[in-house]
Structure formats: C-alpha cells, structure tokens
Point group: C2
C-alpha cells in the first residue's frame, strides 16, 4: 500500500494534482487508513503513470478518460484509441504550424536593434500596424 506521498514521488505527479484527478474521476477514490488517509495499491500507481505520460504528451483530461475506459476492455477493437491519438497528433501539428508563423513574424519585429527611441521602434510600430505583417494571423 502506498500513501499519496509515495504515489507522488513515484509518478512525479504532485499531491494536490492526484487529489484533483480523483475529483475529476480519472482515478477512483482509494481505500482509507483508520485515520482517513488515502492508501493506494500498485494498480493505481500504474494508472497514474499512464495519466502522467498522457498529460506530458498534451492529451486532455477528457481524452485520457476515454483512453483509460478503453484500456479496461482489452478485447475490443482499438480503432478508437488510434483515433484519439491521431487527432491529438493533428492538433499538435497545427499548433506547430501556427507557432512557426508567429516565429517568423516575431523575427521580423525583433529586427529592431534597440539602439534608438520608442518613437521609431520597429517593435512598437509593427504591433500598432497590422498591415505591416507578411502573413495572415
């Protein structure tokens, strides 16, 4: 049996976050000690590690819930799990694309060398005037 602190140390998930996950229904409310403290079994440790990993990969709490529910049914086809991961991959790719545009825009803006006054600073001018942008955003 693990205390919540043990679980936290072993998974790298902070204690308040574990309690939060319990509230959100990602992990079941565990047994309690006589003094009302949470006592976890090994299976909960694995479940939490799964959650941690998925969160690190940026999956939403809701997606993780779905994946966890799926993993309870090893006999079912796994197309759904594949779909969740693929969709997430698509959103990650979109984010990358958007950020790259911003990067370009900011690179242009930052070309101001900082050695003059705000009155003719390219950073300020570029922000004030959207039409100076090269791409839509």
């Amino acid at each position: 049996m693990y205390s919540i602190g043990d679980l936290s140390r072993r998974t790298g998930v902070k204690i308040p976050t574990i309690r939060y996950y319990e509230q959100m229904g990602l992990i079941a409310a565990p047994e309690r000690s006589e003094g009302n403290q949470r006592r976890y079994e090994r299976s909960e440790l694995e479940r939490l590690a799964f959650i941690r990993h998925a969160r690190d990969l940026g999956l939403s709490i809701d997606s993780i819930k779905d994946l966890l529910a799926l993993s309870q049914h090893p006999e079912r086809p796994c197309g759904e799990a594949d779909r969740i991961a693929s969709e997430h991959l698509a959103t990650v790719r979109e984010k990358i694309a958007r950020l790259k545009k911003l990067e370009q825009e900011l690179e242009r803006i930052v070309a101001c060398d900082g050695n003059h006054t705000v009155g003719d600073c390219y950073v300020i001018r570029a922000l004030a005037d959207h039409s100076m942008c090269e791409s839509e955003h």
Copy 2:
C-alpha cells in the same frame, strides 16, 4: 465616437473581452453616454487594435501593458520593447521545439493501425509504459 459594438466590429475583439480589458487596465474607462453606455474615441480604437495584434502574437496581458506604457513615451530608448519581443520569440521557439518532440512521439504511437484489439494496441501500451519512449519528456 464609437459604441462598444462599433469597436468590437472594427477590431474583431468581442464585446465582453473589451470590457474585460478595461477591467484589467489595458484600456482606460471611456466616457459614457447619458444612458451610461461606453463611448470611445478613435485613439482607443487604435489602442485596441494594438492589443489585439499583440494578443494574436501570443504576448501576455502583462507584456502588452508594458509595451503600451512604453509607447506613451516615444522619446525613450526602445531597448525594453526589443527585450519583451525577443523574450517572447525565445518562448515561442521553445514551444515549437517541445511540440516537435511530442509530434515524433505521437507519430510513433499512432503507428498502430487500429485493426486489432485494445489488448495489444500500441497506443495504449505506449502510454502505459514510458520506457518505450525514445526521448525524455
């Protein structure tokens, strides 16, 4: 004089968001009509467009506050504006780098073709077992 709706249409910032910006001190509380409705001048429209643009670029409300304060003093050196934009560029680049790692990880995970069962689904297995990852994250 513009109503809040005019301002919203011209800048693409939603009405509640404009009021929120007022609350946050990004724009000054404008004059009011006899019936207590907000009435804006052209200068506020430009200020809001500046804010909108900077938000689109992902700058935080606090950074925008600083930039707006700077732009009130055209005679000052602009190194500070340059610094804010450069720092932001750095965080954007970091985000891109992190997302690219996730992209790779997800690509590997998604290699599961969806045509079998959850029990041996690569998506689920990869999420359960961090050691299957190629890079740290």
